[in-house]
Amino acid sequence: MIRVILPAHLRTLAHVEGEVKLAVDGQATQRSVLDALEARYPMLRGTIRDHVTQQRRPFLRFFACEEDLSHEPPDAPLPEVVASGAEPFLIIGAIAGG
């Protein structure tokens, strides 16, 4: 199971507390993880990736294993420790005031 940590506002929107655990078919990539996340929580569609372009929203970042994966290609494999569930995949709101 892949562990995903959402920012607080999206946890509220999805009615979840704490981590989300997802089963992902095939290789674990940003795209496959987000596809699985949105399939389970359809209200998150459009809040992490644009509805049409599927581009990451600019004020959100993807971190894992103390690395910034935001600019990795969406189909690049995630680190093995993320795929195995040893480390979470973090979706983080940019530090942009507010």
């Binding site: 920012p7 506002h9 999206l10 929107l13 359809p42 209200m43 459009g46 509805h51 507010g98």
Partner: protein, 392 residues
């Protein structure tokens, strides 16, 4: 027992203020959607328990919420609080996609950016929600970048009325300081096909066929910040209001100038009269007196606060030109808040109640048509919008 429900959108959530018909004691609920920008909430005239809310953030984009019990509980349309058979929440956040289909839509047209270059339309957020006068499931949305969308399934799915964006003048539209927003939608109660909208900064438009086709209605507007001050397109209209008994008469607060039209927007004349400044954002009409109108003058386009640090509502009982300052109960020194374009509303009790919210977090109410004012709340986040439901 009559009463009122005041719907307040703020930078950090929504608040609902309720009172009986005396409008002296208030209950405050909220924040709803804490931490999100709530640009607008509005109740359905056909079913006061149905309320729509625009929830957005720079981080996570646009969500539409709706309530079917007067704001006690909310759901993201599509069933945000309904579980699937696996126990997961169902539903989806709302999808606002410009219609580029060959059958009903338009190509992804361009508009001017601040620097004058052409940019394609990109959806940013919903500024204004206007429920149908007759059907609680039908609601219109005014969005940035400027366009109007309609939902006929309770805000679950949205479809652009693409004739507006594509009618030909789009390349001359440009963003105001707040973005290129479609912020005003007025439905004519006597003519189901007639809709007025306004855009900063493009101007006002009218449809006479329920939103399929549109034409600009800006003759008589004059704006020094566009190359041709009398141009048909490019005016920064801040707000339009009408009285439901007389929907051909429109009142407008423009970037500068308060204007009036007596022919459904075909022509406009200035009625700023003796106002201390004719810059401002809000304008509204008394519920029972169609010639009584309200504005809140703001010093200038760069100094977004009241002149002389005095928060004054101005009332005209003559449909413009002759204005009186209403000050009783409002701060008359050291006040430097703004009142944004969707942040004034009236109730339909007798006497007419008038309400407005400020960027300082106060919501002021007058239960006597503006003669006396008192704050309902003083310390909310910056107020973006105020709507009122009169409950019977």
């Amino acid at each position: 027992m009559s009463g009122v429900r005041v719907l307040v959108g703020t930078r950090k959530g929504a608040f609902i203020l309720t009172s009986d018909g005396k409008r002296e004691k208030w209950e405050v609920s909220g924040p709803h959607f804490a931490g999100w920008e709530i640009y607008h909430l509005k109740g359905s005239p056909a079913d006061p328990n149905r309320i729509y809310a625009s929830q957005s953030s720079s981080w996570s984009g646009q969500v539409i919420q709706r309530s079917s019990d007067g704001g006690k509980t909310w759901e993201a349309p599509g069933g945000g609080v309904t579980m699937t058979s696996e126990g997961f929440p169902r539903g989806e956040s709302n999808k606002f996609v410009y219609d580029t289909s060959p059958e009903t839509g338009r190509p992804l047209t361009t508009h001017q950016f601040y620097d004058g270059t052409q940019q394609p339309w990109v959806f940013k957020r919903v500024w204004h929600l206007e429920p149908s006068l007759n059907d609680p499931e039908t609601v219109y949305a005014g969005v940035e970048d400027a366009a109007v969308f309609r939902s006929s399934d309770g805000a679950h799915s949205w479809h652009e009325l693409a004739g507006l964006r594509g009618h030909g003048t789009g390349p001359k539209w440009q963003p105001g300081a707040g973005g290129m927003c479609l912020h005003t939608i007025l439905l004519d109660p006597s003519n189901p096909g007639r809709i007025y909208i306004a855009i900063s900064a493009a101007g006002a438009f009218r449809s006479d066929d329920a939103g399929n086709s549109w034409r600009p209605i800006n003759r008589g507007l004059r704006s020094q910040y566009i190359p041709d001050p009398d141009a048909e397109i490019g005016h920064c209209v801040h707000r339009i209001a009408l009285h439901r008994s007389r929907p051909n008469v429109l009142f407008m607060q423009k970037h500068w100038d308060v204007m009036r039209s007596d022919d459904a927007g075909d022509s406009w004349r200035e009625v700023s009269g003796n106002l201390p400044t004719d810059f401002g954002f809000v304008i509204d009409v008394h519920a029972h007196e169609p010639e009584t109108i309200y504005v809140v003058p703001i010093k200038s386009d760069s100094e977004h606060f009241p002149p002389e640090g005095k928060l004054r509502v101005y009332r005209s009982r003559t449909g413009g030109n002759e204005w009186e300052a209403l000050t009783r109960g409002l701060p008359q020194r050291d006040c430097y808040v703004n009142v944004l374009r969707d942040a004034m509303a009236v109730d339909s009790l007798d006497k007419c109640g008038v309400y407005f919210g400020t960027t300082g977090g106060q919501v002021y109410a007058s239960a006597d048509a503006g003669d006396n004012w008192a704050p309902i709340v003083r310390d909310l986040p910056a107020v973006l919008s105020v709507e009122v439901q009169t409950l019977t």
